[in-house]
């Protein structure tokens, strides 16, 4: 890795009078981050192409304001990220965004982890200077998983891009123009997609949140437990958000090795079963037409006995085994071994093959 680095051409530039050498092809935003200089940005996201839409990450390059998320480093660049001139422009852009925002942080699910709230806080914009009409949308999206509050949408475009560029689905896009521009599914129908929730993950504000999260607890009130998703053999890293011993939300860390923070609908939203009263917690055996609780010993003996009887009466090929993608590779290996060696049949298959 370090060898690669050395081979890469670097350019020397100055950021806030700090001289640094950065590999060619980096953006100013990335270069600044590396040396611990924070530049706020609302549309920038590491997984998607840069659009330069939000205008918050502007910096001065040799005196001219440019967006740092789209401008590549060049030799001898003089970058200033925090001059009063730039800070004023940035403040005013944030102010404009806030002037069209509900300002209901007290009840917003996103409070505490909202990027816009963070900027309002650090620029101390208690009441926007540029006040005026705000978008009001009465119709709400009726889908099962994702609460879409488009009044809170700042049109940064992250959701549109992650859906298109990362997930390859393209369920949403910009519609209308001017002040009424809005991100929505075609013809403003209810969202009807894979519900992977990548958009929810990428959203900087409370415009997109999990429907089941609402009212269950905010970010700083929870305990985070890192674990592995048990839905399938991919084994995505997930983080359970636990409050009062209840799982109220699932997320994934952007640096997770297997899945880089991405999840599917089951991993992200399918956690309801964990504390469901209907959840199967012990084996059941049907006796006289009714399911009755049994011990593992009893249940396994019962199954083994039945399998044996079938094999004796009809031969091993009368039995087939179907394994599950929720098992690990090792478990699947053991299962086929069991079917072949213990049962004596090649009738073994797996749900992921269907």
């Amino acid at each position: 890795m370090s060898n690669d680095r050395e081979k890469q051409k670097t350019v020397r530039l100055r950021i806030n009078s700090q001289v640094i050498d950065v590999p060619e092809g980096r953006t100013i935003l990335e270069a600044a981050k590396e040396i611990g200089i924070y530049i706020p940005a609302l549309c920038n996201h590491p997984m998607i192409s840069q659009s330069g839409a939000c205008r918050v990450c502007i910096v001065e390059v040799n005196g001219t304001p440019v967006t740092s998320c789209t401008t590549l480093v060049e030799k001898d660049m003089e970058v200033i990220t925090n001059s009063p001139y730039i800070e004023d422009l940035r403040r005013d852009t944030i102010d404009l965004i806030l002037s069209d925002h509900p300002y209901d942080c007290m009840v917003c699910q996103k409070t505490g982890e909202c990027e816009l709230q963070e900027l309002a806080y650090s620029y101390n914009i208690r009441k926007p200077l540029f006040s005026g009409e705000r978008r009001i949308y009465d119709k709400k999206d009726g889908n099962r998983f994702i609460e879409r509050d488009m009044e809170k949408c700042i049109l940064c475009g992250r959701c549109v891009k992650i859906c298109d560029e990362v997930q390859g689905v393209g369920a949403i896009d910009f519609a209308y123009k001017g002040f009424g521009t809005k991100v929505c599914p075609p013809f403003e129908r209810d969202l009807d997609c894979e519900f992977c929730g990548q958009c929810v993950m990428a959203c900087p504000t409370g415009a997109l949140v999990g429907r089941d999260w609402i009212g269950k607890g905010r970010y700083w009130k929870i305990r985070e437990v890192d674990t592995t998703c048990s839905y399938c053999g991919v084994g995505c890293s997930i983080t359970l958000h636990v409050k009062n011993n209840e799982i109220i939300r699932v997320s994934s860390r952007p640096d997770s090795v297997v899945n880089k923070g991405l999840l599917c609908v089951k991993g992200r939203f399918g956690y309801g079963f964990i504390s469901s009263p209907d959840r199967l917690k012990q084996p059941l055996i049907r006796k006289d037409g009714r399911l009755k609780a049994a011990s593992w010993e009893e249940a396994l003996d019962f199954a083994a006995d039945k399998l044996k009887k079938i094999k004796e009466a009809h031969g091993p090929d009368a039995i087939t085994g179907l394994s599950s993608a929720r098992c690990t590779t090792e478990e699947n290996y053991l299962f086929q071994k069991f079917m072949r060696a213990a049962v004596g049949t090649n009738n073994v298959d797996h749900c992921a093959r269907l």
Partner: protein
């Protein structure tokens, strides 16, 4: 026997000509001449040409009747007038004097300098032979078969030609940068805007030829014409021109026997102002929503589908065959040192002659308004000229002696923009004008960046507040601050220029803004919330006319006695003010 005569009839069939019934006029000419057996009877050879726009659309249908090189032009010709023109003029040789164009048409036409618009109104835009007859495609032939690519570019640079689509960037330099890009696939796009329609309708081959030469110069084999689908006639004539050029081998493979191949494709835009912005336009060609991209990279580096792309305005392309054909020096002798050539504008507003005009760069505004435009309509003094479309700056009467070129416009806080030129008089309110343009711009913002999407909306709200008398002094400062933000922080030209009318308006007409804000008065008497109508008793003759015209029943009074206006019922439509013959109604 009389000597054989040739009769040519040219009927304007541009969009306005067609709308005024030009097609009927033409067919009646043909029918009457054939019916009367005129050709045989007096041995005249008749030909008919449908021509493009001459710019003086208010007098359409315009018809030239040319007998043995003697040309006269009839104006406002209706189908019913044709018979008289045929019998008196063509048969008896006596033009119908009353129907001929007047001095206004002469001054409108002669004070212009038509180089790209010249052939419009002369040749048949649907005939490639007409174009070839005026040395059409000779420039392309010369460029492609006799000149190297860099020689073509050099010539365009030497001519000083700058983009006619708004930014005024050197066309030759743009081509040079694009040509120098390593990628072997390159594209060239012709951006056909609203103001280019008469060119596309009147002389489409010039645009095609310019595009062809451009394609050759930068090393592109693929050109696109981007145009709104709604510009039906432009599309139709450009399409026909391409087909004709293909038939002649000017477009296609091995053009003029060289190894240069070039093809042209249409791409259609929808009803959005932003579709004309070059990067949004490329998104649109790629099948995406037209939202501008950040620059850099510039289109010449990474444009359509990521390939180096030149994009020029249709008028820019129309100049190219002239530059190659007549020479860079000829071209740069027109206009000023830094702004060479001519520029087409749509002259409109409170001038006598409105229409499409082509002026040499550097012509003083005064000459445009009072020369070509024939002066102010209805005698009310000029207040401001707005150049460059909705985001152009307002130029006050005191600066009319400045020449119209890129440098001066930029100094005046304006742009060439879409080539609009609107003349306002003292009856127009600067704040209302500005609000009107802002209304358009905020509606047309693509919504991508907050400074434009929300900034234009906030500006409109504040301007509305001013016109309604609800504004405070602070609001002007807020507007200025917003303007500054939008100018520097917006993503594309729409947001960056949207505040031009406000900034220039405030600079030159500060008193008018202050009157609205501080005294809650509209000096021009336009902002209805700020005006009241009342009757001056000793002037009122009691004629009752105001009472009759009032749609709100707000006027009361008996015959021959002074009337009264009920301020609460008055809807401030101004009907009484206009109707009163005794100047008895006061507008405050």
């Amino acid at each position: 026997m009389i000597e054989q005569q040739t009769v040519t009839i040219k009927v304007c069939l541009g969009t306005a000509g067609r709308a005024s019934g030009g097609a009927d006029v033409l067919s009646i000419f043909q029918k009457l001449i054939q019916l009367n057996g005129i050709e045989a009877q007096i041995d005249k050879k008749c030909s008919y040409t449908k021509v493009g726009c001459r710019g003086f659309c208010s007098k359409d249908v315009l018809v030239d009747v040319i007998i043995n090189d003697q040309k006269v032009t009839y104006q406002s010709v209706k189908p019913t007038m044709v018979e008289k023109i045929v019998t008196e003029h063509i048969l008896k040789g006596e033009p119908v004097a009353d129907w001929l164009t007047k001095e206004d048409y002469e001054s409108f036409q002669t004070k212009q300098h038509k180089i790209v618009l010249g052939p419009c109104g002369e040749i048949d835009p649907e005939s490639i032979d007409d174009y070839l007859g005026m040395k059409g495609y000779r420039a392309a032939e010369k460029a492609i078969s006799k000149m190297r690519r860099d020689e073509v570019i050099k010539k365009v640079i030497q001519s000083g030609l700058r983009g006619r689509g708004g930014s005024g960037f050197s066309t030759g330099t743009k081509w040079e940068i694009c040509k120098s890009q390593a990628d072997s696939t390159k594209y060239i796009i012709c951006n056909v805007g609203e103001v280019n329609r008469p060119l596309a309708e009147g002389n489409p081959h010039a645009i095609i030829e310019g595009l062809l030469i451009g394609g050759y110069a930068i090393g592109s084999e693929k050109g696109f014409i981007y145009i709104r689908e709604r510009y039906h006639l432009s599309v139709e004539r450009l399409r026909l021109a391409i087909t004709q050029a293909k038939d002649k081998g000017f477009i296609g493979r091995n053009i003029f026997g060289t190894d240069f191949c070039f093809d042209i494709e249409f791409s259609f835009g929808t009803e959005a102002f932003i579709c004309g912005e070059e990067t949004a336009l490329m998104e649109s060609i790629e099948g995406k929503r037209a939202m501008p991209r950040v620059r850099p990279p510039f289109p010449v580096q990474k444009g359509l589908w990521g390939k180096p792309t030149v994009i020029n305005n249709a008028e820019t392309f129309s100049n190219i065959p002239l530059i190659i054909g007549k020479g860079a020096r000829w071209f740069s002798s027109i206009g000023t040192k830094e702004s060479t050539g001519t520029k087409v504008f749509t002259l409109s507003g409170k001038v006598k002659n409105v229409g499409l005009v082509e002026i040499p760069m550097g012509m003083p505004f005064r000459d445009i308004v009072y020369g070509i435009g024939g002066g102010m309509e209805s005698g009310v003094a000029l207040k401001a000229v707005q150049v460059g479309g909705p985001s152009g700056g307002l130029i006050p009467a005191s600066m009319l002696d400045m020449g119209l070129d890129y440098e001066n416009l930029s100094k005046l806080g304006s742009i060439v923009g879409s080539g609009g030129m609107v003349v306002f008089n003292e009856d127009d309110c600067i704040v209302s004008i500005t609000k009107f343009f802002m209304e358009f711009l905020q509606r047309e913002s693509c919504g991508k960046c907050p400074p434009c999407r929300i900034g234009t909306k906030r500006m409109l709200e504040l301007l509305t507040k001013i016109t309604e008398g609800r504004a405070e002094y602070n609001d002007l400062a807020t507007l200025e601050r917003l303007s500054g933000l939008m100018k520097t922080s917006s993503l594309c030209g729409l947001g960056r220029t949207a505040s031009n009318p406000f900034i220039t308006g405030l600079n030159h007409f500060r008193d008018e803004y202050l009157a609205h804000v501080r005294e809650k008065k509209c000096p021009a008497g336009v902002c209805t919330a700020l005006i009241t109508f009342s009757i001056v008793e000793d002037r009122c003759k009691g004629c009752t006319l105001c009472k009759k015209v009032c749609p709100a029943g707000a006027v009361s009074g008996e015959v021959k006695k002074p009337h009264r206006i009920d301020a609460a019922a008055c809807i401030k439509c101004g009907a009484c003010f206009k109707a009163c013959k005794f100047k008895a109604i006061k507008k405050q």
